[in-house]
């Protein structure tokens, strides 16, 4: 597995990319790579620091949950979010200056979405926080594209046979986030209360 596949500077903070290895060995390798990248002019140290700072300062699934709660309570925002995710989350102060594109995919009764990065572990870090170790596991990455219904069932999410599943494999510069369905019986809840109901798994698509 190449560390190049992410091509991003987030290794430093979240060094476990895939497979089994100790953090110390990876950290040494990352430091060496970083030095080489800077020496060869592939990536500037300033650019790297900027990305790492942005990741450190506010990467959390609470951000994604806030975006979802806004979409559940504001139809116009939801339309903008589905049409241009990057621009819509910037309205809420997320992903400012990011070079990545955000695409939000909506779950409905007919379609359930789930995200993966089969090449490594790409993921909208600022909105979802550090990715869980299973997201980076070879088991999840190889199986969810092949048998998503079975994988989701192992997460406790059993979908009706009639619900179609779409798996989004983030193989380039777009990062995906799932807009889960608003739970029934939540009509009386305010936006902040709704955000508390949104789990990280729901934002990945491995939860309801």
């Amino acid at each position: 597995m190449s560390y190049w596949t992410c091509g991003k500077a987030t290794w430093k903070r979240f060094p476990k990319v895939s497979g089994d290895h100790s953090d110390a060995a990876v950290a040494r390798r990352v430091r060496r790579l970083e030095t080489l990248l800077e020496e060869k002019g592939v990536l500037s140290g300033a650019r790297l620091d900027e990305i790492i700072d942005a990741s450190r300062s506010g990467a959390s699934p609470a951000n994604g949950a806030r975006v979802v709660a806004r979409a559940w309570t504001d139809a116009a925002f939801k339309s903008r979010l589905l049409a241009d995710g990057t621009a819509a989350v910037r309205e809420l102060g997320y992903m400012d200056g990011s070079y990545q594109r955000l695409r939000v995919v909506e779950n409905t009764e007919a379609v359930h979405n789930v995200i993966v990065c089969t090449l490594c572990s790409c993921y909208p870090l600022r909105l979802l926080g550090p990715s869980p170790s299973w997201y980076k596991s070879e088991a999840y990455r190889s199986r969810v594209v092949r048998e998503p219904r079975a994988v989701l069932a192992e997460f406790g999410l059993v979908l009706p046979d009639a619900t179609e599943i779409t798996v989004w494999d983030s193989s380039a510069e777009t990062r995906y986030m799932v807009l889960p369905r608003r739970p029934s019986g939540t009509d009386s809840l305010q936006e902040e209360q709704l955000a508390e109901l949104v789990t990280r798994n729901a934002l990945i698509g491995t939860g309801a």
């Binding site: 594109r101 089969t118 798996v167």
Partner: protein
């Protein structure tokens, strides 16, 4: 810069089957497979070039392309969407659709 943006949404495409001796972002499971373009995602440096540290990496349109599980694995009722650079794709000729 290549002549890019040539694939409209709905275009049937086939991914290339090559196994390059360098980094690529066309996952092995999706090589030589048929799919349909959903949408362009914007242009980006071709990872195959930039990962090799080539100066003047090609800049191409990246497309979201939807594949039926049956076409990838021979079974399954789901779909998989991949983000693929234009040079990974060729349009399926009219006669083969």
């Amino acid at each position: 810069m290549t002549d890019t943006d040539r694939l409209a949404p709905g275009t049937p495409v086939r991914t290339f089957h090559h196994d390059p001796p360098h980094h690529t972002r066309l996952p092995r499971y999706a090589r030589g497979k048929r799919g349909v373009v959903i949408e362009p995602e914007g242009r980006a440096e071709l990872a195959d070039d930039s990962a090799r540290g080539l100066g003047n990496a090609r800049v191409e349109q990246v497309y979201a392309v939807r594949f039926a599980a049956r076409d990838l694995w021979g079974e399954g009722d789901h779909h998989v969407v991949l983000d693929l650079w234009e040079s990974y794709l060729e349009e399926v000729p009219e006669g083969e659709r």
